[in-house]
């Protein structure tokens, strides 16, 4: 395994009852790149994310992140290694405001322990730092004006941004983004991708992105994997992939 890759997925298989959702998936993400994972609906992209992020244990195969074997590791531990994911269908903490949603996602807040939380002076400084960071992040993502709204009472596109903001709060080494720009207008979608590219360039963050709108996506990503019926059927740069007859057929067949 080359050091060059921050994420490696090796021969992963995952079945649900009789359905083979992932079949011998081999792929990887190079450090500091934006890599895309595309494929028709139901091809297994989200399932692959769930396997990487520790929601599902693969039936077979291995997942490595940043030199660690994370196969079957629970999501909370994977997070602490620096791999953070967002969900295709946003999962808000719906009893809390947007601001609290973002604050909660900070890493290592001392006030989160049962004992330390009782003494404000222990965690106040850290909390203020986290608060400033949360405001910065929300400002970058342009959701600061809805900070006080209940997170269940915002639009689907805004929820996607809150997910992204939560993901960024921990300064991860890598983000797994499941359709980060679904349900938002093309202008905003472009902005989101510009922002992600900015993260890559400025902070050296690696990303694996699922996205359906290839016209937008291909302007930004470095490398593309194409998934079909649980298998990786093609890979390459955006140019290579868009000229690959297999990919063209899959997408035409779908349409």
């Amino acid at each position: 395994m080359s050091e060059d890759y921050i994420l490696k997925v090796e021969h992963v298989r995952k079945t649900f009852g009789g359905i083979v959702a992932l079949d011998d998936v081999v792929m990887g993400v190079r450090r500091g790149t934006m890599t895309a994972l595309i494929g028709p609906n139901g091809s297994g992209k989200t399932t692959l994310f769930n396997v990487i992020a520790g929601v599902y244990k693969p039936d077979r195969g291995k997942v490595y992140f940043d030199g660690h074997d994370i196969t079957g590791m629970p999501p909370e531990k994977i997070y602490h290694l620096g791999l953070v994911r967002t969900f295709q269908i946003p999962r808000m903490f719906k009893g809390m405001t947007v601001y609290e949603n973002v604050l909660t996602a900070a890493r290592n807040n001392p006030g989160e322990s049962y004992a330390k939380s009782l003494i404000r002076s222990i965690w106040k400084r850290a909390e203020l730092g986290i608060a400033n960071k949360a405001v910065d992040t929300m400002k970058l993502l342009k959701i600061l004006h809805i900070a006080k709204n209940l997170s269940s009472a915002i639009s689907g596109g805004q929820m996607k941004l809150v997910e992204l903001a939560r993901g960024l709060m921990s300064d991860p080494k890598m983000l797994l983004l499941d359709e980060p720009a679904a349900g938002v207008n093309p202008t905003l979608a472009h902005e989101i991708f510009k922002f992600l590219r900015h993260l890559r360039d400025e902070r050296g963050m690696s990303m694996l992105i699922i996205e359906h709108r290839l016209d937008i996506l291909f302007d930004y990503v470095d490398y593309v994997y194409v998934m079909h019926r649980g298998r990786i059927v093609a890979e390459g740069t955006p140019e290579e992939v868009s000229e690959n007859p297999v990919v063209v057929e899959i997408y035409l067949g779908e349409a």
Partner: protein, 347 residues
């Protein structure tokens, strides 16, 4: 932070209690004790259910563990009152942890079913203890040494004891408020709202839930010990599942994850209970009031869940210094709204 419904209802409740006090002081003391006892129990459920989303349907069992631990230690071994309180909390916490360890990582149903079974199991165990032992079986446990026995006047002693109960209630309330209005409060709510998302932002949800149930049980055990030393007599059949559901109604009516609301809910339920007891002597209904009250409990649960699931006093955002940061910075920094689309990108 003034909530209108809550405030008005609070004033009404306080007024009724004051009215009781004007008529009969010792009745009012009894009422205040029950308010303190149930409020501690309801707050402990609020920690488990209101904040962490855990369905503990065996609350009464943990109260019973606390009560009997304190009772047996006092009656059989003459352990001093304060130590009994501590031991009761520890014993109940241990039982809480015992049931939480296998269940909180499973679906919510398992915890609900397990806790209700544990609650009944404890009661049946207590019923079947030998009647000639200190436990007393169905005849109940007697011989608990009265606390504050250095006070000779029984009335003053009662006042002291009720006073202590109120102090412990305030202690519990402050504890819950501290937990609730800290980063911990946010983590617990995140687990309640979406456990997978909470794990995905690195929260060790299993540990948090385990501790919520353990600490909640400790508080329930404390309430149980208070009960034991108030009556100086314990009977297994006072710890019926109905008590658990009474506590649930308090939390549901009051408003989950809102400690003031839960206390208000406690007061309302207790007052309804007291008023029906009083009304029973004056009004003749073709109904048995105690049974009717239990039907009402069931009905209230359903109606509140349907029409006001947030309770009378809805949940508030978690108050931490973070809000001050937002208040200070947000007005200055929401410039992107005026500017239009996309300003800060460096292409």
């Amino acid at each position: 932070m003034v909530d209108k419904t809550g405030l008005i209802l609070g004033i009404i409740v306080a007024g009724i209690i004051a009215a009781f006090a004007a008529v009969n002081v010792s009745y009012t003391l009894d009422l205040i004790f029950f308010l303190a006892f149930y409020a501690i129990a309801a707050l402990s459920l609020n920690l488990e259910y209101g904040y962490a989303g855990l369905s503990n349907f065996g609350k009464v069992g943990f109260i019973a563990v606390g009560a009997y631990t304190a009772g047996v230690l006092s009656a059989a071994y003459g352990v001093p009152f304060p130590l009994c309180l501590i031991a009761a909390a520890i014993a109940a916490a241990a039982v809480g942890a015992f049931i939480a360890i296998p269940t909180v990582k499973l679906r919510e149903d398992y915890l609900g079913m397990s806790t209700i079974i544990i609650g009944e199991m404890i009661r049946i165990l207590l019923r079947n203890t030998p009647t000639n032992s200190v436990w007393g079986g169905v005849f109940g446990l007697r011989g608990i040494k009265p606390p504050f026995d250095f006070i000779t006047n029984t009335f003053e002693r009662t006042i002291a004891y009720v006073g202590l109960s109120v102090v412990l209630f305030f202690f519990t309330y402050i504890l819950l408020e501290r937990w609730g209005n800290s980063p911990l409060g946010r983590v617990l709510k995140s687990i309640r709202d979406d456990e997978l998302a909470s794990k995905s932002i690195g929260k060790f949800t299993y540990r948090y839930k385990l501790l919520a149930l353990t600490l909640g049980s400790a508080l329930a055990g404390l309430a149980g010990a208070l009960y034991a030393f108030y009556f100086l007599y314990l009977n297994p059949d006072t710890f019926l599942p109905l008590v658990t559901f009474l506590i649930w109604v308090m939390v549901i009516i009051g408003g989950m994850a809102n400690n003031a609301g839960v206390v208000l809910g406690t007061a309302i339920v207790i007052l309804i209970n007291r008023l029906t007891q009083i009304a029973k002597d004056y009004i003749h209904l073709p109904l048995e009031p105690n049974y009717f009250q239990a039907m009402l409990v069931g009905l209230l649960i359903i109606l509140f869940l349907m029409f006001r699931p947030q309770g009378l006093v809805p949940e508030k955002p978690v108050r931490t210094p973070a809000w001050r940061v937002l208040e200070e910075r947000a007005p200055k920094e929401i410039d992107y709204l005026k500017e239009g689309e996309g300003g800060e990108e460096n292409e």
